[in-house]
Symmetry: C2
Subunit: 144 residues, 2 copies
């Protein structure tokens, strides 16, 4: 198995609401057959019916509970960008679950959930520099 992810699919209960939320944050994608595809670096972020996604995975959809067990992180280039993004999230109808602050590791981070409860961490972490295209190359942590 090569070390990569092709798609990250977020199960949603209301596709229009979910699409509107990400569009309000500036994302632009394509909607096809009740599915929204966003190009996200070298992979795709997809919005799709939570029930259909569960079925497609051979799983019972079950109840939507608080924390689904996965968090997506979106790192930005400055603390000011973290603040600006959180303001946009609130305007778009997301919920800030952790106000921006310097965390125990020493970088500025925050978190929100989208309208379906999917967790995003928004951080400015100079320890993991962003390339021009937004990609990262993990540092050699052993040398830190």
């Amino acid at each position: 198995m090569e070390q990569r992810i092709t798609l990250v699919t977020l199960g949603v209960s209301d596709l229009a609401r979910a699409k509107g939320f990400y569009e309000a944050l500036g994302w632009r994608g394509q909607e096809v057959e009740e599915t929204v595809f966003f190009q996200a670096g070298g992979l795709g972020l997809v919005l799709w019916s939570r029930d259909k996604l569960a079925e497609d995975c051979g799983l019972e959809p079950g109840p939507t509970v608080g924390f689904g067990g996965i968090a997506l992180a979106h790192n930005v280039r400055s603390e000011a960008e973290v603040d600006a993004l959180l303001a946009a999230v609130e305007r778009a109808g997301g919920t800030i679950t952790k106000p921006a602050a310097v965390n125990a590791i020493g970088f500025y981070s925050s978190a929100f959930v989208d309208p379906d409860g999917h967790a995003w961490e928004i951080a400015h972490n100079p320890g993991i520099p962003l390339a021009e295209d937004g990609s990262i190359t993990l540092p050699d942590f052993g040398s830190l």
Copy 2:
């Protein structure tokens, strides 16, 4: 907000078990402070305590239920690769939740869950070609 994901963090209940599972599938990463980081294309796949991840997101960890609402897809270059990967998943202790078959859209797909229940879809989908480095560029679905 730029359209990209920096990290995908999977909350796990037993870090050694989770790390061993992905290593058995051929992933190689770095463990630092009870966290495992894998380079995955231009982003990082991270394994971290589910409780700590929830706390870091400002959320209650809550119960681990069946479907967490997110699926990761890993597309490969042939149907034979799908079959080989599923065999490796079973050897590594994952659970096949959808046997490989041609789906309604017409491509060969399957799904499994890792030891913590995180869902992965494994597919050979010629409609979304993989670049040499494993990245994808979404097609213009309007032209399909």
